[in-house]
Symmetry: C2
Subunit: 376 residues, 2 copies
């Protein structure tokens, strides 16, 4: 375990401002980091079975060093855990532990655990303290930062939740070594997203250095810190997603539709993979609308392919619903406004923008054009 | 239906400020009042069966005058509706109506509907617009104002929820004419509470004029407006209950324990009745602790008795759990802080204060002293 100081990124949200600490070995110093910020707190850790097996004891020992006792709530891993039933289970368990508003709920896990535990912390006693300890790459670069929490509904992903900023994010880059490679790649899609939105230099750096990010070490920490800075900037500008923050949804409208179309079955498609395909589709769609050059779409596809990510619908195993049905998933998605569709489109790598007037008919004909049909 | 202008009370919460309109006939002007503030909105009305039977058509017609179409979600009446299961049902129905963040959820009902619908509005798409149309006296003077929303948990009342300020409160004083007298009295307990907290003049006025408030007319509107002003003042000072707002819990620690002890069975005890008994107990307990004169406790008991409210545990039908069990309900209540109990106590009528250091042993011996035991 390295003894270098963690990198600190500050999320500037006035009286809701907080730090993101990034580096190896942070689980072991969790107790002092949390006790410094929340003196006298008690805690409940929410985690999943995979993460608990690999990292729960390290975190508990780290908390004890800061004098923090913790109840533990361990859930089944997977997207289906982001449900009303599990929300109720977490809320009940936190209440059963007799925690108060100034005590803390700690999310130890990927985006599923972070979203669910953050939502529960936001509604138990109308809001308790909350700390994110993200353990997947996706959670470290995306879901743990910015305060969006929530669960899925039968009617779509992430349709129910609250804005609830954590008091602290501890991104231990060492825990990523136990993450399955497929999940690491999925998180990498969200990391690359920041380059595609408005940081072309970062995207170019990733094209050169992605192997080092996968391997670990200083490049991994730097890349995660850059991603957190990018996200923190957007969130500080637009905490409640009334404007710019929607840019972070690059790739997500198509991605969510594909996740819904595969019934949130992680064996077929995990969130970050949906985003990877969605980002490639957003670039391809922008090229088709003559907004961007097909060369940019090709460049994005090539990079996703190089790191081993899926980048087209045909990369999803099993049958997909037809284009009309996919459009149906999109129009039920939350980025719908009075009939016209809002999409994140692009003028090229690093030049994404919010388009509020995309005609559903254009989306439909594009989906038909790139649908794998019965061809596989 | 009167054509006098409604009384307006402003809740001063910066960018979350809103109006409370109070007066007869407001359901009929709901459409214009809402459309003025939320142009182009669509709506979902959440209501219960009793209120729907008496007032839904009037509200729908009123909304249509403002060009507002509304989906309707009708639930069973009663405290048990404030549950996770019904929260999920409301959330699903609002999503099924394809409403967006800038559309509005309208709560048409008493505190149960207001708390549940306000919570649902706060979490669908991480927060939609929300309007309160309170139809019980309790909801008009208390629950519809101030943004506390939530549901009950098996572990206690109102333990789960969010702060979610409405965009508007329409308190139609005419709808109270269909309210069962028992419910009217229960709401009256919360009305009198503001006098007992810090408005001794208001309490004295009520001792003189309570019959006119029950009868309707201008005194009723004035009393409700005074109560809303009192609550709005407290809420503007302390929106998130980190201090003074706790004064509004006068009578509620005992009251909630009694509600829990009667299993939230409205046939035995409704919320405002619990608060009435709780307020009498808070005064009696303060006298026992030599904080207030027994004459003040007697005065409070006498007024509650005069209006026909229960004022002691013996007024609850059926068996009650013993004093230890009642204390157990209190320590699980949310106003617990690191072992010491927080109570709202008083130095006399209109002189309530927050006591953070009440020893559980004092509460227990007091509960034993006033427990009806097997004596009834
Ligand atoms: N709130 C936001 O702003 C936001 C942003 C992006 C994504 N999300 C949400 O995040 C979720 C996806 O996050 P995710 O990809 O982290 O999913 P996840 O939480 O399901 O984690 C992926 C898998 O990796 C396992 N895992 C996590 N860390 C591990 C580790 N260190 N070692 C071994 N196994 C580990 C988990 O058990 C799980 O099986 C989605 O629900 C998505 O909607 C939220
Ligand atoms: N959010 C807050 O700040 C706050 C404050 C105080 C109380 N509360 C909550 O409010 C609830 C109690 O409110 P309540 O007493 O209004 O209960 P309620 O909503 O159950 O209404 C009481 C009864 O009156 C009926 N009713 C309501 N309006 C009517 C009308 N105009 N005509 C005929 N029948 C009518 C209802 O159907 C119900 O049967 C509790 O759950 C309590 O926790 C919340
Ligand atoms: Zn994502
Ligand atoms: Zn009350």
């Amino acid at each position: 375990m390295s003894h270098t100081e963690p990198v600190k990124v500050e999320v500037g949200l006035g009286d809701r401002a907080y730090d993101i600490l990034i580096g190896p070995g942070l689980l072991s110093s969790a107790g002092t980091e949390i006790a410094d910020r929340l003196p006298g707190t008690r805690a409940a850790i929410v985690t999943d079975e995979n993460v608990a097996a690999a990292h729960l004891e390290t975190l508990k020992a780290g908390l004890e060093k800061g004098g923090i006792q913790a109840a533990v709530i361990t859930l089944r891993a997977g997207e289906k855990t982001k449900s009303f039933a599990h929300l109720e289970e977490v809320v009940d368990s936190v209440l059963a532990a007799k925690l108060e508003r100034r005590d803390v709920v700690i999310a130890l896990g990927g985006g599923v655990i972070g979203d669910l535990a953050g939502f529960a912390a936001g509604i138990v006693r109308r809001g308790m303290n909350f700390v994110q300890v993200p353990t997947s790459l996706l959670a470290q670069v995306d879901s743990s930062v910015g305060g969006k929490t929530g669960i899925n509904s039968a009617r779509g992903k992430n349709l129910v939740g609250v804005f609830n900023q954590p008091k602290l994010v501890l991104a231990d880059t060492g825990v990523l070594d136990t993450l399955p490679i497929r999940e690491f790649r999925a998180g990498y899609a969200e990391l690359a997203k920041y380059g595609l939105i408005d940081r072309p230099g970062f995207f170019a750096w990733l094209e050169e250095n992605w192997q080092k990010v996968f391997a670990g070490g200083q490049e991994r920490t730097e890349a995660i810190a850059d991603a957190c800075r990018a996200k923190a900037d957007v969130v500080a500008r637009d905490e409640f997603e009334t404007g710019d923050r929607a840019l972070l949804n690059l790739g997500h409208t198509f991605g969510h539709a594909l996740e819904a179309a595969t019934n949130y079955d992680g064996a077929r498609l995990v969130h970050g993979e949906g985003v990877a395909i969605g980002m490639a589709l957003a670039h391809r769609f922008s090229a088709r609308l003559n907004l961007a050059s097909p060369d940019d779409a090709e460049r994005v596809e090539a990079h996703l392919r190089a790191v081993g990510l899926p980048w087209r619908m045909a990369d999803i195993s099993g049958e997909l619903p037809d284009a009309e049905a996919l459009l149906g998933f999109i129009t039920q998605d939350k980025k719908v406004s009075r009939g016209a569709l809002t999409f994140i489109l692009t003028r090229g790598v690093g030049q994404a923008f919010i388009a509020k007037d995309v005609p559903p008919s254009e989306v439909l004909s594009f989906l038909k054009a790139c649908h794998p049909d019965g061809s596989r």
